[in-house]
Structure formats: structure tokens, C-alpha cells
């Protein structure tokens, strides 16, 4: 198993309601999640806005610490490791962010953005930056560009290149296509599909868009208000959704209907 998550709870202090003295009240965001991510799987995480998808992702990458419960990554319990202990492992689980404008340092060139993490883990950078660019379908010359000199789709490819350059075992993709237009969405998804196959990656793909998830994922978990309301293989979920929340989500997918009557 790549990830084993057991009874994961996470609450964050609500700074907006912090009293003058004393601790802020805590918002309970994740309420007892249990699921596994098998090696080589592509797991879809769906749910409405505010259901806790990003929070779950950030907990799995240990950008957040669970309040209780366990996160086991490839046999190692990472739930409460301190940053110094996590750092050597961090190469193995990577993340692609939703908004590439914010996740790429605007004052660094693409080459530096991709090479930075490699250097941190003591890997040589010379060929690897070029390789990574090539794998995501960008010309090598882009290494000397700044992020604002790229289109949205190209930026997102740089985000992907940065993650795969480290040759991680696991990648979390948090809403990575929601900021893109339909044709770049398709391109980025194709690319991701190819990379998963070529590199044997395990992927968790967060989205609120079930049609995107359907294409890519083998298993799906459905989140609603910090709880898993359904977990099923993709086909089963689309054919026979059990939870009423899942049915509601499925109905929200706009299906092309050639006989639709406008009235």
C-alpha cells in the first residue's frame, strides 16, 4: 500500500473568531477518514466546495498535521513526524497545485523552479531539467523563461515537470485543471495519464468534476463535509451510486444531450 489512512481527524484554529486572550476555537474539518491508496492506483477524490478535499491532500503530504488518526506512507507512519524527519522522505511524495500562477515563484526561471527541488535532495540537475521539460512536452528553451511568460496550460506543465523530476512514488494533484480552458484541460489530463503509465506513479487526483475523474481514476472516494460518504471503483460508482450525495453530484454533470429542447 502506498497510503493507509486510518480514522483521520483534522481541525484547524479559526483565527477569525479568536478571542483576545486564549486559544481560537477549532473548526473540525476532517472527521474520521479511513481509506487506502494501493500502489499504482489512481485515486479520485471528489466532493463539493469546502468538503475538505484540499485539507485531506495537505494532510497526506504532511503540510498539515492530523489532530488524531494515522497516515502511513509506504509502511512509515508519518502522522506526527517533525519536519526534520519528514524532509528526507519528501522527495517521494509530491504535489501539483491548483493555481500554477501562485505555485511557481514569479521571480525564478522555469529551469530554476525545476532544478531547485533536485538540488535539495542532492540529485544532479544537468540532464534532469531537460528530461522533465521534454516529458511534459515543453521545449528546452523554456528553462530560461519566467512563469509569467507562459500560458496557463504551459505553467501547469511546469508544475507537473517539477513534481515528476524528483521521480516520486506518489503525486497529489489538487484541482490541477480547473483553472484551464477545455482544450488545455484535455491536454494536461492526457499528459498526466501518460506519465502515470510511463513512470508507474501512484496518483491521487482531487476534483469536483466527476467527468474528469471518470476518465483518469480507477477508484473514487466521495467526500462530503469532512466525511467519506462513498468509496467505490469508478465504474461501480457511475453505474450504481449508493450515497444520495453521490447521486446529486452525478446529476450535476452536464451531459451532452443532442435532443435537448430549448424552452
Amino acid at each position: 500500500m502506498m497510503y493507509q489512512v486510518t480514522d483521520l481527524h483534522l481541525s484547524l484554529p479559526d483565527m477569525t473568531r479568536k478571542p483576545l486572550v486564549g486559544a481560537a476555537p477549532r473548526i473540525h474539518i476532517l472527521k474520521g477518514l479511513t481509506f487506502d491508496v494501493p500502489k499504482g492506483a489512481v485515486l479520485g477524490i471528489v466532493g463539493g466546495s469546502g468538503s475538505g478535499k484540499s485539507t485531506l491532500g495537505r494532510a497526506m503530504l504532511r503540510l498539515l498535521e492530523p489532530t488524531s488518526g494515522q497516515i502511513v506512507f509506504d509502511g512509515t507512519d508519518v502522522s506526527h513526524l517533525i519536519e526534520d524527519q519528514l524532509r528526507p522522505m519528501r522527495r517521494r511524495f509530491q504535489m501539483i497545485f491548483q493555481d500554477p500562477m501562485s505555485s511557481l515563484n514569479p521571480r525564478r526561471r522555469v529551469g530554476g523552479i525545476i532544478a531547485g527541488p533536485l538540488r535539495l535532495h542532492g540529485m544532479e540537475t544537468a540532464g534532469k531539467v531537460d528530461d522533465a521539460l521534454e516529458m511534459v512536452g515543453l521545449p528546452r528553451s523554456f528553462a530560461s523563461r519566467y512563469p509569467h511568460e507562459l500560458s496557463g496550460g504551459q505553467r501547469q506543465r511546469v508544475g507537473i515537470a517539477r513534481a515528476i523530476a524528483l521521480r516520486p512514488d506518489f503525486i497529489l494533484a489538487d484541482e490541477i485543471v480547473s483553472g484551464l480552458d477545455v482544450s488545455s484541460q484535455a491536454q494536461v489530463l492526457n499528459l498526466l495519464e501518460d506519465l502515470v503509465r510511463e513512470l508507474g506513479l501512484t496518483l491521487a487526483f482531487i476534483s469536483h468534476d466527476l467527468s474528469v475523474i471518470r476518465r483518469l481514476c480507477s477508484r473514487i472516494i466521495v467526500l462530503d463535509q469532512g466525511k467519506i460518504v462513498e468509496e467505490a471503483p469508478t465504474e461501480a460508482l457511475f453505474e450504481a451510486p449508493k450515497a444520495s450525495y453521490t447521486r446529486a453530484l452525478l446529476q450535476a454533470i452536464p451531459l451532452p444531450d443532442p435532443y435537448q429542447v430549448w424552452d
Binding site: 519536519e83 493555481d99 511557481l104 514569479p106 521571480r107 535532495h121 511568460e149
Partner: protein, 283 residues
């Protein structure tokens, strides 16, 4: 797409050249003042008092910008005054920037108790009225170059701290910072290699502004006679002296005033110009 963006690139900043040019000229003048000044800035000659600048009647060759009531050469005094003005600008500006920006960066990036301590400290500090504070300080320390520099640093570091803290805080919320953590960068490393380059344009803009302010503060303190001893010429001192005889000899007031104005303006424009020229995000 790329090409279209390259075309909108602004023409190389005129203001960078103008402000940089003026300041370089002034720096050269300050360094080589003993060589290029036509006269001893302190030499008095009562027979040559209140000579007008060269284009008016009744001038004496060699006194290009005229003399003051004691017969001291205005040009030479301006050149020597540049030394003090620039030393104060550089030293006070840099120190203010170092102290304020460091505290602001740490408070804004690390947040938590670090931020609470620094921010409270800044708030309390700012409750003192600055000019009163400066005068009090110099009264205690005694007038002199060091006192002026200390006074400027002590008063103005809070400006840097506040602005840079806010900037570091908004940068800290960006995903590229989370991404650095995912990549395994230490917090301190992230502050230096990710946040700092992004607040640097603001730091440079503030620094040049601060240098301009330092020049003004020095002039104001000289004006109220709290600066360096009255022997060494300062622009503020010249303005103060020129004011008393403005009807008989306007040039004693006007030339140092223009120099002061151009210098302060150049410092603030230099910051903007550097930003236009060197910030990759704006290019």
C-alpha cells in the same frame, strides 16, 4: 504570444538614467571635492562677500555660483556638503533598511509569537512623535554625524518593518511557499530563497526612498542647528544661513535648495527606475 509581450516592454527607463546620472555625479563630486572645489569651503573673505552667480553683474572670476555674506564660495560649499549628505544617505539608509527589513521579514514569514513580539514593539515605538524623538535623542547624544545617523535609524526602521512584514505575509500565503516545503526546503531556506527575492523590489524601493528621507532629515537637523558642528558645510546649514539674507543674496539659499531637491527626487526615482529595469515580473 511571447513576442507580443516583448514588444510592450517599456523603453529603457529615462528616469533610471537621469536619477542615476545625477547621483553618480554627486557621488563623484563628494569623493573628489578637495580636487575639484575651486575654493576652500571654509575660507572667509569679507571683501568678497555676497558675490552674485556668474551671469550677473559684479562677479569675480572663479566664484561661479557666488559667495555668501562671509565671502565663502557657494559651489565649493555645495560640493563639500554633498559628502555629508551622501554619507548620511548611504549609512543611515542601509542600516535602517537592514534592521527594519529583517525584522519585518521574520515577523511576516514566521508569524506566531515572533510576529506578536515584533509587531507590538513596532506599535509602541511608533507611538513616539518622530521629530521630537530625534531632537531629544540628539540632545542626549550631542550633535554630530553619528547622532544624526542613529536618530534616522531609530525613527525610520519601523516603516520598513511594517511594509516588509505585510509583504512577506502575503507572499507567505502563496502556493510556491507550500511548494518549497513539499520539495523539502527548510523554513529559513524558504525565507531566503523564495520570499526574499519577491520582497526585494519593495525593499529596494523603500531603501532609495529612505536615502532621500535621510538627506532631508539631515538638512532639517542642520537647519535647526542640531547637525554637525557649524564648520563643515552642510546643505541644511547653507539653507538656514541663506534664508536670513534671501533678499540681498538669493543664491545662497537657492542653489543648495535646488541641489537638495534634485538629490531627494533622484533617490526616489532611482528606486522606481531600478524596479522597472530589473524586476523580471515587470519586464
Amino acid at each position: 504570444m511571447r513576442d507580443a509581450r516583448a514588444e510592450v516592454r517599456r523603453p529603457i527607463g529615462l528616469r533610471l538614467w537621469l536619477s542615476g546620472g545625477w547621483l553618480s555625479l554627486l557621488a563623484l563630486a563628494a569623493i573628489f571635492a578637495p580636487l575639484i572645489a575651486p575654493h576652500d569651503p571654509l575660507a572667509q573673505d569679507l571683501f568678497l562677500g555676497r558675490l552674485p552667480p556668474f551671469w550677473e553683474d559684479g562677479t569675480e572670476p572663479g566664484y561661479v555660483l557666488g559667495t555668501d555674506s562671509l565671502g565663502r564660495d557657494v559651489l565649493s560649499r555645495i560640493l563639500y556638503g554633498a559628502r555629508l549628505a551622501l554619507i548620511v544617505a548611504l549609512v543611515a539608509g542601509t542600516l535602517t533598511c537592514l534592521i527594519g527589513a529583517t525584522l519585518g521579514l521574520v515577523a511576516g514569514y514566521y508569524r506566531g509569537w515572533c510576529d506578536r513580539i515584533i509587531s507590538r514593539f513596532v506599535d509602541i515605538w511608533m507611538a513616539f512623535p518622530p521629530v521630537l524623538f530625534a531632537i531629544l535623542l540628539i540632545a542626549v547624544l550631542g550633535p554630530g554625524l553619528i547622532s544624526i545617523i542613529i536618530a534616522i535609524v531609530v525613527i525610520d526602521w519601523t516603516r520598513f518593518a511594517r511594509v516588509i512584514r505585510a509583504e512577506a505575509m502575503s507572499q507567505g500565503a502563496m502556493d510556491y511557499v507550500a511548494s518549497a516545503q513539499v520539495a523539502g526546503r527548510t523554513q529559513f531556506g524558504t525565507m531566503l530563497t523564495e520570499i526574499l527575492p519577491n520582497v526585494l523590489p519593495t525593499i529596494v524601493a523603500l531603501l532609495t526612498l529612505e536615502m532621500g528621507i535621510a538627506v532631508i532629515v539631515e538638512a532639517i537637523l542642520s537647519f535647526v542647528n542640531l547637525s554637525i558642528s557649524t564648520d563643515s558645510p552642510t546643505w541644511g546649514g547653507m539653507i538656514a544661513e541663506g534664508r536670513t539674507s534671501v533678499h540681498q543674496a538669493w543664491w545662497v539659499l537657492v542653489f543648495p535648495l535646488i541641489t537638495l531637491f534634485l538629490t531627494v527626487l533622484s533617490f526616489s526615482q532611482l528606486g522606481e527606475g531600478l524596479k522597472d529595469r530589473f524586476d523580471p515580473v515587470l519586464r
